[in-house]
């Protein structure tokens, strides 16, 4: 809200109708009774198989669908199952027990792919190795459910002639009647508490969004921002504090200073507009996905406002009937470690095509051992899909075969780039907001 000195009408901030849809990611009724991850894979396979089975008649109607155990050599058929990618470079906890421990620690490559990787398809009855040039292992990861067409060879492998991914889920129509521009601002990787954090740079962002910066034209633009989403890694608690030892009184300040500093900035923001804050891998939240909302007690100042919303990671919400889904980056970063693509946006596209936000969970990405659901399944294609804590700002408008339209946004780390992202709700156009304190 900004006053103009010449006594003209006060600029009012635009409003948008918000619906928080994080309920499926909140861990409330679930109880851990020692269960393992087989249940989440069973739920995933069951759900995805029924979706694929409705698509198979349109793909290859004349072929029978078999189970893995029901394969006959030489008989052409379709099988549906979960992919497992065997990677020899993938670190395995069993290595600690099988080999002798060497004094030199293993060098961790950032990417565990090798040319020896091969794919295996598994359903309840069994598993079979997939052969043939159609499926390039570098584009796939463990945990996705696909249908493959081919036949069993004499060696017992399944030679793949063609494969089917579920593709983009059906999308609810976006309302097209809005005539005014309304913006959603995204920022990620603030990392308050590290040396990379520049308070002046973030204060510039805060002042711009709250409308305390610039002339009337700039304030007019700021008044159109209806919401700010902070996409993870807002603070950085030094990992030394997570070792489980008690924190000495002299170190208490190092633990609480970043949180308090962030709260001061957040209070300025929530006083001006609604803010959603998501946890990231460096925030004081649980490690495994879905990360639970940051606790209100961390934000003594900001949590007093009803515009402050602490969200889960992944985060699903609706603004003026536009569907938003986003994560703080762990799902895409894990795909980057185990597969190859030309850019992060392509990984994001793949997760939409596979209809699963985090297919590598629980294999290589920490995940809660759900028994009766898999909350990462994408049942309805969102209109905006955002991922935080990436290297650079990238965006693409993805078009689906059933008139789906998705805006994909890769949000860069603010502490490194000084870049925040603005999305226009009216037309899903996206642009970057760059803040620099270098003269």
């Amino acid at each position: 809200m900004a006053d103009s000195e010449m006594g003209e009408a006060t600029l009012e901030r635009k409003l948008a109708v918000y619906r928080n849809l994080d309920e499926r990611f909140v861990i409330r009724e679930e109880r851990y009774k020692g269960q393992q991850f087989s249940h989440i894979y069973f739920m995933r396979l069951h759900h995805m198989r029924s979706q694929l089975q409705s698509l198979i008649p349109k793909w290859k109607p004349h072929l029978p669908v078999n189970t893995v155990l029901g394969l006959e050599e030489g008989k052409e058929c379709i099988i549906v199952g979960t992919l497992y990618k065997h990677m020899k470079l993938k670190p395995s906890i069993l290595d600690e027990y099988s080999k002798e421990r060497s004094a030199i620690p293993l060098v961790k490559p950032h990417n565990f792919m090798s040319t020896d990787d091969h794919l295996i398809l598994e359903d309840e009855s069994g598993r079979v190795k997939l052969a043939g040039p159609m499926l390039a292992p570098s584009a796939f990861v463990t945990g996705i459910v696909i249908a493959v067409h081919g036949k069993e060879t004499s060696e017992g492998d399944f030679f793949v002639e063609d494969f089917l991914e579920a593709g983009l889920a059906p999308q609810v129509d976006r309302p097209l009647d809005s005539r005014e521009d309304k913006f959603v601002a995204f920022v990620s990787g603030l990392s308050v508490g590290t040396n990379a954090f520049n308070p002046l740079q973030f204060q510039l962002l805060v002042d711009h969004i709250t409308g305390h910066l610039g002339d009337e034209n700039e304030q007019r633009i700021s008044s159109k921002i209806v919401r700010l989403v902070i996409v993870g890694n807002s603070m950085h608690i030094s990992h030394g504090f997570f070792s489980g030892q008690t924190v000495a009184p002299k170190d208490h300040a190092k633990l609480t200073e970043p949180i308090r500093e962030l709260d001061i900035f957040l209070t300025q923001l929530v006083a001006a507009l609604p803010v959603d804050i998501m946890p990231g891998c460096n925030d004081p939240a649980n490690y495994s996905l879905p990360q639970q909302p940051l606790h209100r007690c961390l934000f003594a100042g900001a949590s007093a406002y009803n515009t402050f919303v602490s969200c889960t990671n992944p985060h699903h919400f609706e603004l003026d009937n536009v569907q938003f889904v986003g994560t703080s980056g762990q799902n895409i970063d894990d795909l980057y470690k185990y597969s190859d693509a030309k850019d992060k946006i392509e990984f994001m596209e793949r997760t939409l095509r596979w209809r699963h936000l985090a297919p590598t969970a629980p294999n290589t990405l920490g995940c809660y051992p759900y028994v009766d659901k898999d909350p990462f399944l994408i049942e309805s294609c969102p209109h905006v899909y955002f991922v935080g804590n990436q290297e650079k700002y990238e965006t693409r408008l993805l078009q689906g075969p059933d008139k789906q339209l998705v805006r994909l946004i890769s949000i860069p780390r603010f502490c490194e780039t000084g870049v925040a992202v603005m999305l226009n709700l009216r037309n899903l156009e996206c642009h970057a907001l760059s803040f620099s304190t270098n003269l």
Partner: protein, 115 residues
Amino acid sequence: MSSSTITSFFRQEKKRTNDGGGVTIAKLCSKIGLDLAPFLVSSTDQLRSTKELSKEAEERLREFDIDMRYGPSMGLTRIERWDRASALGLCPPADVECLLLATSTISHCLWQGRV
């Protein structure tokens, strides 16, 4: 003075047994034509509700544990697995539900605690 004893003021009521549960299970069983008698063995306990499962019943439940269609059996109780299968529309056998509801002990699958 003759009949106005304290028992006429405070009428004694018979303690309610688990007739509510029993009636439902009986209804279920009669609906599917299952006679529970061969499956239930009276324990030495007087209360009707604690009936132990006979060997045939245990065999039937183990078949349910092994059945691949309803997903993994370890890590959840048999009735939870039955409910999950039912919620997914897999139509798990109704006689298994009867058997599971007829006993008061919550049973896990065969391998629970052993693997």
